[in-house]
Amino acid sequence: MKISKSLIGLIVVSTIFLIYASGFYTNLQSNSALEIVDFSTEESLENKSIPSNPNRIPLYGDLHVHTKYSFDAYIFGVTATPYDAYKYAIGEGIKHPLGYEMKIKEPLDFYAVTDHGFYMGMIENYADTSSKMSKNEWTKPMHNLNRPENVTVESTGERANLFSSVLTQAIIKPYPWWHPKYLGAWLTNNIQLALQSFDYDVHKSAWADVANAAEEFNEPGKFTTFIGYEFTASTQVEGGNLHRNVIFNSSKAPIRPWTRIDSLNPEDLWTWMDALRDKGVDSLAMPHNSNGSNGQMFEVETFRGNAIDKEYAEKRMRNEPVVEMTQVKGTSDTHPLLSPDDEWADFEIMDKRVGSRPPTYSMPQGGYVRDAYLRGLTLEWKNQGNPYKFGLIGSSDTHTGAGAFDEDNYWSKTGVLDGTDMGRGSVPLTQDRIDQLSQYAIDYDQPISIKEIDGRTYANVGFDQWGASGLAVAWAEENTRESIFQAFKRKETFATTGTRMAVRFFAGYNMDSIDLTSEDMIKNAYAKGVTMGADLFGENNQTPQFLVWAQRDKLAAPLQRIQIIKGWVEDASGTPKEMIYDVACSDGLSVDPETNRCPDNGARVNINDCSISNDVGAGELKTIWTDPDFDPTIKAFYYVRVLENPTCRWSTWDAVKAGVSPRPDLHKTIQERAWSSPIWYIPESSNLDIIPL
């Protein structure tokens, strides 16, 4: 009797509690991250026929753009909206936080605003003193942060401090466990709701604004946008960067982004994307800044430290067909320590963990795409599947809404912090700035952020390792969401460092029958072979031929050479190997068969005014190439790297414009370049599974 009474009591209490809780959250079901919203707007212009090219055209874009809705961008003084960002992409000038105009040389074909998913829109809300959130004591340091008179170089110290210490302490404030919001968060699988620093309505409306801007600017046939955001996760202890951008293929998108508050584990992100796909919303995740991941972006084990298996590999490749391998925060092709025989490996290396305080070295192994391809082959060799069979793109990761793609028109990315030459460390500091930076170190108990080089004092803030990069290029039939999205899924893409060069890459067994001077060359190449991003299967031990074709950017330097980078795993020893072949040289030069290198074409840069040799280099280069070391029984990948003649790096341009000599410890010139997605050679199956002992 007693037991049943207390049981009834328990049931009554818990029922009341549940009613209370569900009454509190009127819309219990709708809080799921799987709820889909159609953001499409009425098309007011009639549908025009869209030009389509069966041989595909290269479309240039940027899939990594932050605006004021990103927590860090707002701290950096950015007030540009997603609408401003799209205006910039179609060629209108917009304002940098420091007041000058940012304008792109030529409009882009596609663009996606990808604000940080977690706390999207919240910091602006803290800063707005009329908001509910701003009543909280801890929002005070952010109140009216971006009032016009405070968006100045002098506010750098305050902003750096907010970013590196105040913010992280302020925003992670869960309600106590007994709080109804805590229960609500648990019931709706939305942990954000358990945070005192989080206003779900503000968050949803920021996300809707991002989506609406994309919808408003999407113009099929002319300009494509994607609804997207950044999943900003990192490993817990080492702070290894696991950031990914997510874009959706249609006007339909979830009601809120799935973020690092939901889970730090990218595998959970893929589970969510798989579930959305089942509901008819397709999406892609694109990892970036693997260089700052401390080797964890392309690990040989799962997030939880288990062995990778085929299921993992398939799930990863289903959701992450392309990787952003070059952007402002460095390029992740390879590292000099990983590729000691690659003379071009020391290119825009950023060797710190992303966002680490104090700046901490990032281990190169597992952080660069060439190494990842080799790891993928090794895993496959061990029968674990290949989770690293991805294509390549670049993007900017700008936080000002406007990507800085050109060395001579550069504003880096973190608004007020690196919007001036002195701020990014390319030009010596004035005494005023030295005093400010020293005072900042004292006021906020930070490491001293100036350094002496050859008797001159520079800001020592890490921005000197950043650069004017990069672009994502898709080979698509037409400039529409569907067509570009499919190109990403096929991996028929290439990455550039901001230059608009173009590269074609095909492989097949009858390619040498193609006339390189025929206007039907590409039609024939598609008919007779496979293109970048695809597999080439072995046929009767034949040796394949590769067709490569590159065209210069008409506004940039001419081309110097085309290279093919090959990687494979040695059969007997299991050792990963790589080899770089120059395959086409400018100025009628030919490759030395001993060294596999083109001779010097004599292109030079005048460091005093950044002028370049005008009479050397090529407008286009094309060739059919055969691998001299081909072994038909060994799995291998091949990707193209195209190099321009050298030009001034942005830091040299800054110095020239300021009338000072360039900083001696930085590279003075760079070779802008493009990388194609690889073609994988898969031998005929021998019906023999290799069982490693």
Binding site: S44, G91, E519
Partner: protein
């Protein structure tokens, strides 16, 4: 002193006297908390914490409110609201919102029509060009080969054959911006002058020489209002809001005189 200011001064004086007469007790240090204020304080607390406040908590809430009010009033007495950038900006912002909201929600058809006529250029659909071309690469004697190909095409009717071009042979309804982006400025200037359905060339681009067949030009046009109604409506409202604020500032700014030190060195 203008008459207007004298009138203002007199009205101000009158209000001041009336104020002293009716609200003498305001000068005393009373803090009156209305029922509504109490209710909103308590419900704000409840919505943040999720339960009604206890007795002690109510005391705290009221104490906090009172403290804030005292500090606020003392700050006003000390004139701390003067010359404070944040307060200035907030007040300016508030009045801006107020003025923005004074415009009517739905513009009439007439107003939209007029707006559309005035801002027609913003809705202009630019001209497009459809054309084919044969390309001769700079890498192998573009000028010579192109001229020869054109010559034998015109004289002997030989088929025109060029090199492969990255973007292909045929272009359909491209705008000036697209053509300039793909071929460079000079190419577009040449294309513009061509006769329809007549092979012409060689013409130079950033990449080499081209023999071009212009197939179709669709002239730019102003779309009818119905086709762009949604955009026009949005633009109208945005402009009306800006105008409401600007008008207000214009109207009132004549009352103000701006004095800047003429010797200031900028």
């Amino acid at each position: 002193m203008s008459l207007r200011i004298i009138i203002f001064f007199l009205i101000g004086l009158l209000i001041f006297i009336l104020d002293i007469g009716f609200n003498a007790e305001q000068d005393s240090k009373d803090i009156y908390i209305s029922d509504q204020e109490l209710t909103s304080l308590l419900s704000a607390w409840e919505s943040q914490v999720g339960r009604p406040p206890s007795g002690d908590e109510i005391v705290n809430i009221i104490n906090n409110f009172v403290q804030e009010e005292i500090l606020y009033r003392e700050a006003l007495l000390l004139g701390l609201d003067q010359e404070d950038q944040i307060i200035k900006r907030r007040l300016a912002q508030k009045i801006t919102f107020l003025k923005q909201e004074t415009i009517p929600e739905e513009p009439s058809e007439e107003e939209l029509k007029e707006f559309f006529e005035v801002n027609k250029n913003a809705y202009y659909v630019p001209a497009t060009y459809s054309f084919s071309h044969h390309y001769f690469s700079k890498e192998s004697n573009a000028k010579g080969r192109a001229a020869k190909a054109m010559e034998s095409f015109l004289n002997q009717g030989t088929e025109l054959v060029g090199d492969p071009f990255f973007l292909g042979k045929n272009f359909y309804q491209n705008s000036a911006i697209e053509i300039k982006k793909n071929f460079g400025e000079a190419f577009f200037l040449a294309l513009e002058t061509l006769t329809i359905n007549e092979w012409s060339g060689p013409h130079e681009s950033a990449f080499g020489e081209h023999i071009i067949l212009l197939k179709e030009v669709s002239d730019g046009f102003y779309p009818p209002l119905e086709k762009v109604l949604l955009r026009v409506e949005q633009d109208y409202l945005a402009q009306a809001q800006d105008k409401a604020v600007a008008d207000y500032i214009n109207e009132i700014s004549s009352e103000y005189r701006v004095i800047i030190n003429p010797d200031f060195k900028f």
